[in-house]
């Protein structure tokens, strides 16, 4: 989706604000929020919308305005409400409904370390697919505008780049218009290098490059 999250190349976002004391959390609530997100669940239905898509469909003003951990907490609340595990009345009162079922935490002090270390690789060793492109080949990023979640930034679409590396086969992460996973489409993921001039025109430094990893479906021969 061509949303506010896809901000590569925008120029009007202001100066970069750098704190002198960059700690992981700048307030107690940020730490508790992150802890809650990692320590809750998994509860509720297993067929879920893509988490990044849920961020991406926030109204642009809200997306820009919300603090990072605030956004995560909002989406956790939305999911729990959608799964009927939480109600607005409970949030308003700050107390669990006495009639709501009592569950047992799935993530515990005993298994949290293992959970945080767990690798969640999308690489697919189970399938063998011949790559369509090879290192050194000139390709073009397709001019496509999917309405669901996609990992092809707008600023690369239609531009020519060179295959720099083939990372093997990964599950495709694009979704349908509602944010649900598409039918399984494992495919090669490549690092593609674009010259800054190809992306931004003649004013860019002639030496500079921008690289991204792109799924095969995003690329075409040129």
């Amino acid at each position: 989706m061509n949303g506010i999250h896809d901000m590569g190349g925008m120029q009007d976002m202001g100066p970069i604000e750098v704190r002198e004391d960059e700690r992981p959390f700048h307030a107690e609530w940020e730490a508790r929020a992150w802890g809650l997100i990692r320590a809750t669940g998994p509860f509720g239905p297993t067929r879920r919308r893509n988490f990044r898509y849920e961020h991406e469909i926030l109204p642009p003003a809200q997306y820009l305005q919300m603090r990072y951990y605030e956004r995560f907490i909002k989406l956790l609340v939305d999911r729990l409400i959608a799964a009927k595990l939480l109600t607005q009345a409970e949030l308003d009162s700050g107390r669990a409904d006495p009639a709501s079922p009592r569950l047992t935490p799935r993530v515990t002090p005993a298994n949290i370390a293992e959970q945080l270390r767990q690798r969640r690789s999308l690489r697919r060793e189970d399938v063998k697919i011949r790559p369509q492109f090879k290192v050194g080949q000139l390709v073009r990023a397709r001019n496509i505008n999917p309405v669901g979640h996609t990992r092809l930034p707008r600023y690369m679409r239609g531009h020519r780049g060179t295959i720099v590396a083939d990372h093997g086969i990964f599950g495709f992460q694009d979704t349908d218009a509602e944010g649900y996973a598409l039918p399984d489409r494992p495919q090669h993921v490549y690092t593609v290098g674009f010259t800054a001039r190809e992306l931004w025109g003649e004013a860019a430094n002639a030496r500079d490059t921008v690289h991204a990893e792109l799924w095969e479906d995003y690329l075409e021969r040129t």
Partner: protein, 246 residues
């Protein structure tokens, strides 16, 4: 720009004045400004308000409800916070860099297979499944960004700093990396190539900075202490003991 308040304000300063959670104005950008805004340690910009901000109260309410329902154990939350505050952070990445500076064979393995070489030092897991290490040289400077999200190599750098997640960095790093670097105090000669890495898929990047001069004979611990998080994202160089940058 529509809805512009009279006086330009930094986005976060604006946020601290706005009621959390209410739809409101988006801060006015300061177009063309080249100075990064420095926030001082005690500056109230992230919900330090007293009385507690609305979002802090909402998080607190949510935690107590979920604990009551048996969906979360507060001790697990404590353990998560402890992990990200003291175990998973940029000191891990600094160790990797220092080892690569001292051990040419390790450096070679690191550049050939980042994930495996980083795992040799015991680091790996969530958001570090597929690591690529890119090396700065006198002729090449690497810069890492995630324009679509805030993807970041947690096992070696911890949780991303606020600026990395911010719209100004995410938007401009790809179109004006040299301007972004100048905001961080790094000015590169025109004949140095800037390579920007936009973490669009599942690969996460670590920059191997140049070893600063005057560090010959230093131990791995001493070298690791010189390596900053910003240098491993590519927005800074590593300064030697006397402050001389490579």
């Amino acid at each position: 720009m529509a809805n512009a308040p009279d006086k330009p304000v930094g986005r976060r300063r604006f946020l601290s004045k706005a009621a959390a959670g209410t739809a409101g104005l988006v801060a006015t950008p300061r177009i063309g400004s080249s100075e990064p805004k420095k926030l001082l340690a005690g500056e109230q910009d992230q919900g330090h308000q007293n009385p507690p901000s609305d979002v802090a109260l909402r998080v607190k309410a949510l935690e107590s409800i979920l604990v009551e329902k048996g969906m979360v154990d507060p001790a697990t939350i404590d353990a998560v916070i402890e992990t990200y505050e003291s175990k998973i952070g940029p000191r891990n990445g600094a160790r990797v860099v220092a080892r690569a500076w001292l051990d040419p064979a390790y450096r070679k393995r690191l550049l050939a297979d980042g994930t495996a070489a980083i795992a040799e030092l015991g680091y790996g897991g969530s958001q570090g499944e597929h690591m690529v290490v890119v090396e700065n040289t006198p002729a090449i400077h690497n810069l890492v960004v995630c324009t679509l999200c805030s993807c970041y190599p947690w096992p070696v750098l911890g949780l991303p700093p606020t600026w990395y997640k911010s719209a100004p960095y995410r938007s401009r790093a790809v179109i004006d990396p040299r301007g972004v670097l100048r905001e961080f105090g790094v000015t590169l000669a025109d004949d140095v190539q800037v390579r920007v890495w936009d973490s669009t898929a599942e690969i996460r990047y670590l920059v191997l900075p140049e070893r600063p001069p005057g560090t010959e004979g230093m131990t791995e611990d001493a070298l690791a202490a010189l390596v900053t998080r910003n240098a491993m994202v590519g927005v800074a160089k590593v300064a030697g003991r006397g402050g001389a940058a490579a």
